[in-house]
Symmetry: D2
Subunit: 491 residues, 4 copies
């Protein structure tokens, strides 16, 4: 039930050639890209664009809510430009304040600068104290820290109208090594950079006017883009080119991509891509480390079947994020898959509960029992993860009230013990049910006939089974499971 | 792809005993009930309540949009009452005008009257002309026609403060025999009635304070309710009591249900429940004619496998309404089920397309390809129905672009040839693709390797297989498939 | 302080020739006309238009709030038409419900009918009971009563597509003789009618394209209009043609005005124009009964000086409605006029008070003392009327706190003792301070050194001084002052 | 017609003793204070409060529009605190962006800092360039410049939790000497400061619980406040204590006011209070330099009568800002004052014109002619100033069209030739009609029979006539009339 955790952000940037056709404007592309990243943040969204050039004002539109609600046809037309970056977020640091909606834009000595990022700085507090020695900060957000650090001139002189962005980004990476995937827009250029640990995903894409089947033109031209996940490229008819490497800085212009450099990790440590991107956060059709997320989730289900099979009549799951793991479990175990719940399509995540006893009906509002499918049967119920354990309890009650004979919970990830300080809004340690009950106690507590978690080794092996390393180090952040953070936390 | 058709309405009413606990207010129950009927109409919603009694003013809150957006905690508190009726709608007749949002309330000589209904009168035009001879009508809606007909006194004298509602309802049924399921609120009573053909579903439910696990009280008390579908009872912890019979009038008070009478069909015709309630409209966990809709849909899939199997590597479908049919097909045929598309949870039905070439990306915005699941494979793609054929075409293109070897479309209902005049917003005959292409031509047109529809007899047998008649006539409206309407249409 | 009473409504209609220039659309003219009538009602506004012709749908836009807020450029363009009627209202009967916003539109057997009116029916209750014998009513408003009465066919046969409107209006006037000024739109025609007592004003105007100085055209053409007050014609560059007579029915087409008939008053009673239109409601630049309202108010001030002069250093008043009376008083008495209060332009009538002790500062928020003008001086403070007496008390306190030596209140109308049932929202008898205190007691109560009201005869003589009767009867409704209503009230 | 110019801002701060009664909350007081300053800016408003103390978060509510629309009872309750500052503005620099709504709040090394100011920095551009050398700026506003300058630590060490605000303010005054009146809130203290030239007004006020007539308490306690103008104190039952001197820094705590120091002007120049505060901007009941503004305006009228009398039947003016000057003119000349126009109370400044020929009716929408007062008469029409000359032209046309025999315009201030860079949004030089036409040409252009401006010396003498210098230098900024700015402008 990983939907009790919240991903921080999705970022998307795009730049088109000069004669990019106006009937598929850059702002529309970014808008569709953000819609493809909506699962990474539903609280607010923003797009900043520019026609390009040193003196041109940035245009911007931001708002609270889903991408589809924040933008209208008119607001996209109002920010017409040749390049732009966008952002969709769930608040972690900085609260719900309107000022925190990214992209963050500042005026610098070299004109306007826009920055959008996904992630959270593990040393935000000392960086903040350092900045406050000389300036006032408008917000409590990491974005402003990143933007102010990037706004400061280097000790070595820089050209008048073109700061040395690669050098500034390298300086930034030296000051803070985790966690951020960021995009920066200035004049005619977008820079994309991923922290040296590669904690959050970032990838490059390309669309050609020929792919878009636009009215025939002799010379197809390209637009170049950068996105948190490759699924966003599908939304706009574009193709994944490649992923940005951990520590890599990529310059994006209307001529294409240019890899500037790869900043190494301190002490030669392994990379630390968040393993929960596979378990829950990323969209199933995205590719990360060369593999489609759906396949990894199926493999987690297969591994779970290897580790914790139990005799039963059917395998099922809570819609929708646990479906692939349940399919993998069924495939490996031979126990048939069946739907046991029917989702109400119109009940969103963000619904505000009435302050009444009807609150206990939250699950009943979201799911109806497909009683005839499971009456009198033994169910293996797959869940991708267990955070607080409240939802799964209500579901088991509903299944048993409607005639399920047995309900065996199998969890496609290990127990969650630790908070994340790298961009995910996980409940406090006290709220994480794994800190209160072991699996037997938890089964009892939620009314299950048994409950088994996937082992940490099982998760790692499922995740890494199909990664082709090509000589690169492989490594994943499992801090929320093990307490081992990629770098020391600083307060 | 039946989501190109639109259901007209969902209705819900509830009445509680005098000491019904205030922490699970009647308006909250109706609100949750309407949320459970949201799939029947997303355009507007309204609730009208009363404390009961002959002189008490009705309270009302209505608005445009989803139930969750129309109502707030405050608006529910403002309409506190002991009984009430609610409505959620997709406009068919009457347009998007605010005046058309139901329930429809009028002042009568006996105090206020509220009416909500699901369905469309096949003889609305002559009834309208009849009314206009003596009064002006505020709207173009069937609701006002029904309400004015019910407001008129009977020729025989009625008691001062209590019109003879059963007699008025019987008079109404004599004037118009299809299509409506309606609920009426006056003083302390709700009446529920279904047209003699039973074209739209309607059922009765009950909740007890004991079921709601409210703070202990010695004598559990009940609330009684009426709903378009039984799935809405689940949303509020209530239980289905029984369905309202075609032509039946039920009086609902705080003491419970009382069947007043059953008005017979003209000429002893069979009933005519809309067969598309099974194919698409009803929620899968609802019970209609004693059977759970999910099971009927699976049986349609099984029947389709019997009629139109083809050699393939996997069975899949477009999420979400075709899933049960695909499961039934897979189960019967032995061809394994696999997901081929990953849905974007945040793209709703109602999104307004940008007026650009990006419009062609509508499908890409909604679904991402789970490429690794189907690359190089032969797919049987199940769809619940085909209306215009535009969406399925885009999906086949996406699948083939991403490596599908063959795509065989199997449709779990017969071709749609005729418009509906009984509450469903079906495109015009010209827009229904079955009127332009036969199945071979259509397969070619949408890029499928083959396309077969379920036979009409196949559909009927799947629908009726598990109905227990108990001596009652069984019959379904198949007008959109056959052109045979239950009664003559009048203009 | 008559702003504690509320006027019911303003109505405006306009019809243009076929080639009326599109750059000064009829909806724009009505919009500006309503803005010119805004002082008669600030709660909601609506405009209904039609291109004309028997089958053409009416277009309508309505909303809560000031005219300037209800309409936008776009909403006016959306209701483009060749004729239309509009309404601005303060609620009297029927409450704040959205359904009550006029013009009221119904579908009749002869197509759509729109009605807007100013006034309140003294026999609304029995008329309502009569209607409810056969139909349900959607609202509690007099507008619906008027509209349904007009929708009913006459016993004598009428032509197919053109009801006999003069006959229907005469029938209406026979059923209810006071109080309404109304306009009715059907097909290509607007009818204007004033109740036989002429209780509310109504007048006819005309604008020519030549007056509007539109781009040169050879043949200037005219638009014809009807308005509650002549001041609205000024807002659109039009001219007052004449007033509609009490009981008169005028047909307005694109060819101009045609007086259909004048319905006589029952029992040969005198007319009963509301005398408070002169005292407070009408705008000062409007002409009623041939005289400009400003002049009548000045004459009331002069008469007051004749009746109740006192030794003082200056005459002043509460801005803004009492200014003319104060000027007249100063002119007649020779005591110089001076401003003593400075109004805050941005504090509207409708401000919602904070629920705190700061409520007592309501007057201080609206007016600042021009201390240097009155310190140490004796003030004659003119008020147009006294309703509750609360505001005048706070003002006297402010003046004395800031150094006024004496404050003598002179009221330019007699004491208010009775409620109005003809369109004005006057507080209940208990709230009318004149029913509690005589003038000496009231002076004491509000801290004034003396207080004198204008006599009833003085008011009547001031009002009638310059009316040219031309053989017509002259008469005014003084029911709120005397309790003598023009007809018997019916409940 | 000075309403074609726009004032920049109004500021208001308040601090209450610990046991300040909760039923007249500090946020409510600030809200009412801002409402009393509404004439200084109608575009947006904001209030920032704190409970006080070094670690307490600031609370803030801001929005677009009038104070009465920006704040609700709830929003004021949400920002409950013991001290706070507020702002209402018309945009000059920085555009309509939401980020520019003051008060400006930043996080500093010593906790949050809030700043609100009225005025515009004449050397904003070089200060901005200086700041951009080290940081990025979020907005284009002077507020951010002031706030960042105040956020920077002094070279000399300051105490840990209490920056040396007087020293920082003095440093600020050394960097920029005109134009700003500002208030700053930090921890438990508000600082008020006025630029050394005193270009914008600022004054101190006090209210006691005894003045507020709150429920009896033994020991009345005080709240202390600072405001752009004294009129705002009246709105809340408070009293003016004194004005802040040019260059003065005042510390305000719950114990009261403490004058910290007075920073001298460079080169011993005279002060430069904006003379248009007297002519137009300030509210008539405010006191500036010890005199009530109404009296100064009357004196301008008297002086104008001395300089430019002409034979006529009556003196009048355009409501409302020119009334005092017209009264003074009438008083001095003996020509009687009379109203000639009746204002439509409901047409605000901000109305958006329809894009039609009806635009020419803008004046007719605002004013109706009181024809009977001026028909056949010679009018002296007083205007406070002439900016573009478009409105006065329409008014003269209306007067003459309705029978005025002659219209002589007398302007109570000299011609406007130059832009203001100190906080007033004056049209460009090209738009200032005085740069195109001399007074004779202008009279001809607008249809007046004659037109005379008040002389510069006349204005100065009227303004200074009653100022008691008490040994202080007296001086006023007349830059818009003479082009002599108090300091050199820097770009």
């Amino acid at each position: 039930m990983a939907d009790e955790m919240n991903e921080a952000c999705g970022i998307f940037g795009c730049i088109g050639a000069d004669d990019w056709p106006t009937n598929m404007d850059i702002p529309h592309i970014i808008y569709l890209g953000l819609m493809g990243l909506q699962h990474r943040g539903q609280e607010s969204a923003g797009i900043v664009t520019t026609k390009g050039g040193p003196k041109t004002n940035f245009l911007s539109h931001k708002g609270q809510g889903l991408v589809a609600n924040v933008f209208t046809e008119r607001s996209l037309v109002n920010i017409k430009g040749n390049l732009g970056i966008g952002h969709t977020r769930y608040s972690t640091m900085g609260g719900m304040d309107h000022h925190n909606t990214q992209p963050f834009v500042v005026h610098t000595a070299h004109g306007q600068l826009a920055v959008a990022h996904n992630g959270e700085l593990v040393n935000a507090a000392p960086l903040r104290r350092m900045l406050l020695k000389t300036i006032g900060l408008s917000t409590g957000s990491d974005s402003e820290i990143l933007t102010q650090l990037l706004s400061q001139p280097l000790p070595d002189p820089e050209p008048e109208d073109a700061p040395d962005w690669p050098a500034r980004l390298k300086k930034l990476m030296a000051l803070t090594s985790v966690s951020y995937s960021l995009i920066l827009m200035h004049n005619d250029t977008i820079y994309a950079a991923r922290d040296p640990f590669g904690n959050r995903p970032l990838c490059l894409g390309r669309v050609s006017t020929s792919m878009l089947r636009s009215p025939s033109r002799d010379n197809p031209i390209d637009a170049y883009m950068v996105s948190s996940e490759s699924c966003a490229f599908v939304s706009i008819g574009a193709r994944l080119v490649r992923e940005v490497e951990p520590g890599e800085i990529v310059k994006i212009t209307k001529q294409g991509f240019e890899s500037v450099c790869i900043v190494p990790r301190p002490d030669n440590k392994p990379p630390a891509l968040c393993i929960f991107e596979y378990v829950y956060f990323a969209k199933a059709d995205s590719y990360i480390e060369g593999q489609q997320v759906e396949e990894v989730r199926k493999e987690c289900g297969r591994q779970l079947a290897r580790e914790a099979l139990v005799e039963a009549d059917l395998v099922s799951c809570v819609p929708e994020s646990s479906i692939p793991a349940a399919r993998g479990f069924s495939e490996k175990s031979g126990v048939p898959f069946a739907d046991v719940l029917c989702k109400n399509r119109y009940v969103g995540r963000t619904f505000i509960e009435p302050t009444t006893y009807l609150r206990q009906l939250a699950v009943a509002k979201k799911f109806g029992p497909l009683t005839e499918c499971f009456k009198g049967k033994r169910i293996i119920l797959i869940d991708d993860s267990i955070v607080r354990g409240t939802t799964i309890r209500s579901i088991i009650t509903m299944l048993k009230d409607n005639g399920a004979k047995e309900v065996h919970v199998r969890v496609a990830s290990p127990p969650l013990y630790h908070p994340c300080y790298m961009g995910i809004n996980i409940p406090t340690s006290e709220e994480l049910v794994a800190n209160t009950f072991n699996s037997t106690q938890l089964a009892n507590e939620i009314g299950a006939d048994s409950l088994v978690y996937l082992s940490l080794d099982g998760l790692k092996s499922a995740v890494r089974k199909n990664i082709k390393s090509n000589g690169r180090a492989i490594g994943h952040c499992t801090a929320c499971l093990t307490g081992e953070y990629p770098v020391e936390l600083q307060w």
